[in-house]
Symmetry: C2
């Protein structure tokens, strides 16, 4: 899809944006735009760069931005913090789009300690909300993502993972405010009732619930969101499981499923392979200098010397100490059936969270940090990048092994890269196989290999019944095309809603494969 | 809204329905239609009777029913089992609609013991799925509704309550198949990927998730649904809490919130007042013969003699016995701060469920029954009916008292009826105040008083910030009108989607206040 925005149309829209926001909140210089590119794309390709960035700070300004875009027919592409790294960052699907950056719309509007929720604007980062909770002295925990600079709203809208109990089925969100393509402001659920007391405590309204319609889509711009916060438990116990054989993965997954279905483990773990974990802790060149994928013996050496095993699971218990003790014993017993498997952890009371040093144990305690971001330096330090290929599978050992074999084979053989995997169970029944394809962003051949391999993976995984949970800009259309049941009726259903809600097609055209009528051939639902 | 379907149009549509389904699956006689009326409406009013009932048994037949309706412009109104009693039963909003009854589309398509889910058609009742689980020897529990003859799909689509842990936030549903208004079949979430292995284990797809768009709405006809089943816990312990003063409600609710937020109670309780519970166990005339609301001293006598207290809470623990024991002790301690409060319960292992005699304890164990249905006989035995008025509130003692006072006052003073309340916390932060307005269906003045009072309640509760979670046919438009934020933008948003997905307006016009363009003046979202 190549859409061009005429320079004169853009220029007159920019004049309107500037008179609304002032020149300092309308960025157009090449330097300024650099920051809003796909952070890991090979620089010379330049497929997804915006033509300007507008930075509203109020709902009214967002409404007016939308009205200006509609008047001029200029496509917008919204981000919250713009840290959707691995999937294209803040960059737009349509080159030349005007980026709506909500980074400066960053107020924590409310924290309710009694009912356990906060209301935030889209620019609020994990860091910001965590700090607001601390500053207020609230005994509440936020389910945070792996990297603390991301937006609470943005991560939620992209179906992103968080790791505390409310991360299960991404269940923390409750109630939204959305600016629609005609500039109107809508509140979802109970928020549609003026003066409602239940907007952020009950997840539905009277009639259909539209909240999830605004996730991974282009039907509106979310300007407020409720997020549930969990009371600090008497005892928090981060746990680690380590196994030493690659095929132990099957037993790890099957045991985890049983322990999750019966409620013993009630948060979002990660099962991480040696290479990915090593990338957080070290550089590749320490272990292997050759081209092509790292051989098994080097991986085994890393597994031993970094004490990572072939798979590590990070997970945690939360609750009354007596319950945590019971569950820890049960977990140890269950995993003891895997030869040489080890499980360990440390208990913390709320007043001891300051003593937690391990960044992953901080994340599982709701304390955001940036430590995990360094894994992209595996090949090349500062110049490292990654893209994520992330299909969904049932939480069974057989599915875990099948996906590992399929993905590892293609990444090693087609891209010549190392296989880096984190299996993230989003609930007791399914996991997302986050495949981190890490490369040197200044090595064009390596970047090209990574992007091309991901496109093959999208198709090969789909043939096996595994579809992506979230797609990178560069293969959004391809990933969406795999969801083809009934002659792509789901896509045509989305297109029909898109045309109805945004007839001018100004909101994020192409987002997750949903294009407005003006930018596609045919499509939509047909009625006689 | 009065829409009429011309007799000749209807006649030719019926000919097509008959050639599709055979005469025995197209009901038109007055006797047959009786069964599909609002079961509790005063008989002579006859505001909501359908003109025919069609009974498809396959997805293909549902598709063809929709196509026939579109061709003739005949409005349809779908039910699953049609037991939406209290809110209008199977009756349509538009008199003369053709009812699509899915009672005979009643297959349990799959039960997956390893991953803990079933896939059902809409005609599958709680009884049916329970029996299929038992027949297969599966060690799985179904979160059931109060009355076992209802449909699993139908209850889910109406945001109905169920009571086991998966009832919290109505979280059991995963993956749908839907027939759209143009006759196409769509699968949601991972089901849009042909051969997907994750349709019923992961709740979203790639792109926006439409499942909740098909709940409390008229955008499609759901023909399949995944429903999660919980492994039987080592220990199930139904619990009862009884308090003796009406104002103890505040402390009950505040204590429950704390115990729910910290995960001690993780299912859907009910907090029931004396009068409602007495209606399950006895007849009003045993206690009071007078007209008008029962006086306080009669209520106190019932509270003592039936051993109900002024409020009883039904709830339960599920889990390993050690955890249940710990939690029971904690619960006892927490409620002991309310003077004279009592908490008790009995522990059951899975092999002992057959010994459970109390119908509520059966429901909390996932064993469906019909016992609670008899409460409607309070005034008049067999001729009793009820309508539900059910606003949502934050789970705080102050809100519980405020709603009790508002609703009790109006029901007693305006309708002259007894105040019957079940507070149902759908999660740790909110509750639905189900107000059961019970009347003698053959007493026109009493029925009129009940209906009229409910309409007042809709408006008065909304003024206090409490909106309905689900509305009866007779005040659907009024309840919807309360959600008026932004000049009714939520309703206009729904209308815009309705017009796009069902331009002929054949699917359930008026459902939850959503009317197609042909049956309303204006509305929809406006774009320049």
């Amino acid at each position: 899809m190549s859409v061009t925005v005429s320079a004169s149309v853009l220029a007159s829209a920019l004049r309107d944006f500037e008179s609304l926001l002032g020149a300092e909140r309308v960025l157009t210089s090449e330097d300024d735009l650099q920051e809003f590119r796909d952070p890991f794309e090979y620089a010379a390709w330049d497929d997804y760069t915006g033509s300007a960035v507008v930075m509203p700070t109020t709902v009214e300004e967002v409404q007016e931005v939308v009205r200006i875009a509609a008047r001029h027919g200029v496509p917008l592409w919204t981000h919250s913090a713009g840290r959707n790294n691995g999937y294209g960052g803040p960059a737009p699907r349509v080159k030349g789009s005007v980026l709506v950056s909500l980074r400066r719309m960053n107020r924590v509007l409310e924290i309710d300690e009694e009912l356990g929720y906060a209301v935030v604007e889209p620019g609020v980062r994990w860091f910001d909300l965590y700090e607001a909770i601390q500053a207020g002295g609230h005994k509440l925990m936020l389910s945070v993502a792996d990297v603390g600079w991301g937006s609470v709203v943005g991560n939620t809208l992209e179906h992103g993972a968080t790791y505390l109990p409310y991360g299960v089925d991404m269940s923390a969100q409750c109630g939204m405010e959305v600016v629609l393509a005609n500039g109107e402001v809508m509140r979802t659920g109970m928020g549609a009732l003026p003066g409602s007391r239940a907007w952020h405590v009950y997840k539905r309204g009277l009639g259909p619930t539209p909240d999830q319609l605004f996730m991974q889509s282009n039907f509106g711009i979310v300007t407020k969101m409720g997020v549930w916060l969990m009371p600090q438990p008497e005892c928090y116990m981060p746990l680690w499981l380590r196994v030493w054989r690659d095929d132990d993965l099957a037993a790890v997954v099957d045991t985890l499923r049983r322990l999750s279905l019966d409620g013993t483990i009630a948060m979002v773990p990660q099962i991480i392979n040696t290479t990915l974990f090593a990338a957080v802790l070290s550089k590749r060149s320490l272990w292997y200098e050759g081209d092509g994928p790292m051989p098994e013996d080097a991986i085994d050496r890393m597994a031993r010397e970094l004490e990572l095993g072939r798979w590590m699971m990070r997970f945690a218990l939360y609750g009354d100490e007596a319950v945590v003790d019971h569950r820890f014993a049960k977990i140890k017993e269950a995993f003891s059936r895997i030869p040489d498997a080890e499980v360990w952890g440390t208990k913390y009371a709320p007043e001891d969270y300051g003593r937690i040093e391990n960044p992953i144990e901080q994340i599982e305690a709701g304390i955001p940090n940036l430590d995990l971001n360094q894994m992209t330096g595996w090949y090349s330090g500062e110049k490292g990048g990654h893209i994520g290929f992330s299909p969904v599978a049932p939480l069974t050992g057989a599915d875990a092994i099948a996906l590992r074999d399929l993905l590892r084979g293609m990444i090693q053989e087609r891209a010549g890269l190392d296989y880096m995997a984190a299996l993230i169970p989003m609930n007791a029944r399914s996991f997302i196989h986050v495949t981190l394809v890490i490369f040197d962003t200044e090595n064009e051949a390596q970047v090209r290999g990574a992007y091309d391999t991901c496109k093959l993976l999208v198709q090969e995984a789909a043939k096996q019944g595994y579809g992506e949970y979230r797609a990178h800009l560069d293969f959004m259309d391809l990933a969406s095309a795999q969801y083809s049941f009934g002659d792509h009726v789901y896509r045509r259903f989305c297109e029909t809603i898109k045309d109805a809600l945004d007839p001018a097609g100004i909101l994020a055209p192409g987002k997750q494969g949903i294009w407005p009528a003006s930018m596609r051939d045919g499509g939509g639902l047909s009625f006689r």
